[in-house]
């Protein structure tokens, strides 16, 4: 569509004939003054007046800032996510501020010079874990990036939070790639089963489906791996890497949990859809629990060596398994989705987890 150049205005403006005519009859809240809170001027501080009202359904599909006066004839950007419940979470403003405030640098904030030579088996284990994490973390950037341009600009706070997640995941990919290459081990193996789970997230037909699989299930598992990594770290270098990643990952999981909660509160009839998404995800996840490239590095790091891991058996893995599934069930419950009794995990994986009963033996 030709916008049409106003030659008359061009001439008048060249003569300095400005009359602010465009400002007359503009919808605005002239006089609004957001007051900074004690940490600065936060997104919550500016969620005031009409500017703080998030529509249930976006009336337009433009990039115009919510609350601005939108000229007639603005183009349709073709957003497909136009309902607030599709992407919103009640904690998203605070999570955005937290994310911005708690950024870190994989170059500057990790004491790389303090890396110490490790037993070859332990170095292999650390490098393999770093390989898997470098692999899986980028999907958590790809997925939000794939959907960001489809989300209506009226939900800009949610889009901004997802942008922080993209940056977080880039840093996680970076820091684990650096760890794999920094101490003589190099990258390990990428497996088909992990890639299948990543594909499931990327190919999700809706944001709801992908968010449940990624924010809730996938990142919940990775969060537990980060916790374990920090607890089993052979040096302060790995402890710092895993701790900083854990903080970021927990934010993403907190968003996913609260998004699902908001979604289900808005439309309880969607519960069965989410159960179906998670059924599918859990079936692949159960295979990951039996993938040597993931199980063995964790066991070796927990025990402090290969021989020690053989002697320890499944004890370390059991701690991780109980934590992963227990935390996952708690998050589902908080979101309003009771997965107890219908987990698509084999009995051997849910053994000992309070309230966990498999619906289908896999």
């Amino acid at each position: 569509m030709a916008l049409g150049l106003d030659l008359d205005y061009l001439e008048r403006s060249a003569r300095g004939e400005f009359d602010l005519g465009w400002l007359r009859d503009t919808n605005s809240e002239w006089g609004v003054r957001a007051v900074p809170s004690k940490t600065g001027l936060t997104m919550r501080d500016i969620a005031i007046g009409s500017y703080g009202v998030i529509p249930e359904h976006a009336p337009l599909r433009t990039m115009a800032p919510r609350g601005s006066d939108v000229e007639a004839g603005v183009p349709d950007m073709g957003y497909t996510i136009n309902d607030r419940a599709e992407v919103w979470a009640d904690n998203v403003l605070d999570l955005y501020e937290e994310a911005v405030s708690r950024q870190w640098s994989a170059t500057r904030d990790i004491p790389w010079a303090d890396l110490v030579p490790l037993d070859p088996d332990v170095e292999h284990a650390m490098c393999q874990l770093a390989t898997v994490l470098s692999e899986v973390e980028m999907v958590a950037a790809d997925f939000p990036a794939k959907w960001l341009w489809r989300i209506n600009h009226d939900f800009v706070e949610a889009k901004m939070f997802l942008c922080t997640q993209v940056m977080d995941e880039a840093r996680h990919t970076e820091v684990f790639r650096k760890r794999a290459l920094a101490n003589g081990g190099g990258l390990g193996r990428a497996t088909a089963v992990v890639e299948r789970f990543l594909q499931l997230i990327l190919d999700a037909e809706s944001y709801d489906e992908g968010s449940a699989l990624m924010h809730l299930l996938g990142e919940g598992i990775v969060l537990s791996l980060f916790r374990a990594g920090a607890a089993l770290a052979p040096s302060p270098v790995e402890q710092q890497i895993f701790r900083l990643c854990m903080q970021d990952e927990a934010r993403h999981v907190a968003y996913g949990t609260m998004h699902l909660r908001y979604r289900l509160a808005s439309d309880p009839s969607m519960a069965e859809d989410f159960h179906a998404y998670l059924d599918q995800g859990e079936e692949i996840i159960s295979m990951i629990f039996a993938t040597p490239e993931i199980v063995e590095p964790t066991a070796i790091l927990a025990a402090g060596g290969l021989e020690e891991a053989c002697a320890l058996g499944t004890a370390a893995g059991d701690v991780l398994r109980l934590q992963i599934i227990g935390d996952y069930l708690k998050r589902c419950a908080h979101a309003g989705l009771d997965r107890r009794g219908r987990l698509h995990l084999p009995d051997s994986l849910i053994d000992g987890v309070p309230g966990a009963v498999a619906e289908v033996a896999v």
């Binding site: 809170s37 004690k38 940490t39 605070d94 501020e97 937290e98 405030s101 708690r102 950024q103 870190w104 904030d109 004491p111 969060l223 916790r227 374990a228 920090a230 607890a231 089993l232 770290a233 302060p236 402890q239 710092q240 701790r243 900083l244 854990m246 903080q247 990952e249 927990a250 934010r251 999981v253 907190a254 949990t257 609260m258 701690v319 934590q323 935390d327 708690k330 998050r331 419950a333 908080h334």
Partner: protein, 151 residues
């Protein structure tokens, strides 16, 4: 800065801890804003258990206690026997910032010797979100102030 003067566990110990942790406010702010009500429960054998609260609010840190869990309304409680707490504190006082085995994450991950419990998933996830800040505070028992991003 020498060893902690106040005995653990006591209100004075937590006040001294926070005073040390906040002695370099710029270093603390580099860790980022935080929002957490952390309960610290010390189980005393054959005695009365002790409960203290640590409040992270933006860049501020506050101490409440002695108190009880219901009054404090924590997001998450880290609980365990006095011996386990004392071993952690003694290690930090002697060596500086906690290593993996003496960190709050390491001590709670298996549910022994300390356990981190919360009413719901958001409480435990907050514990994970602000772990660097929480650990930096406890590390202040053995160091002048948190440095960098939480080592």
């Amino acid at each position: 800065m020498g060893a902690m003067e106040a005995p653990f566990p006591s209100s004075a110990w937590f006040v001294e801890l926070v005073s040390r942790a906040t002695s370099d406010q710029a270093a603390l702010e580099r860790l980022g804003i935080a929002d957490l009500r952390l309960g610290v429960e010390v189980l005393i054998p054959d005695g009365i258990d002790e409960f203290f609260g640590v409040v992270l609010d933006g860049y501020d840190i506050g101490v409440v206690g002695p108190t009880d869990e219901d009054t404090f309304a924590p997001d998450v409680v880290v609980s365990g026997p006095l011996d386990a707490w004392r071993e952690m504190v003694d290690w930090i006082e002697e060596h500086g910032p906690a290593d993996s085995a003496h960190s709050l994450n390491g001590l709670t991950i298996a549910g022994v010797p300390l356990v981190a419990r919360s009413e719901d998933a958001m409480g435990s996830d907050k514990f994970y979100r602000f772990m660097g800040t929480v650990q930096a505070i406890f590390d202040a028992a053995g160091a002048p102030a948190p440095v960098g991003t939480g080592a």
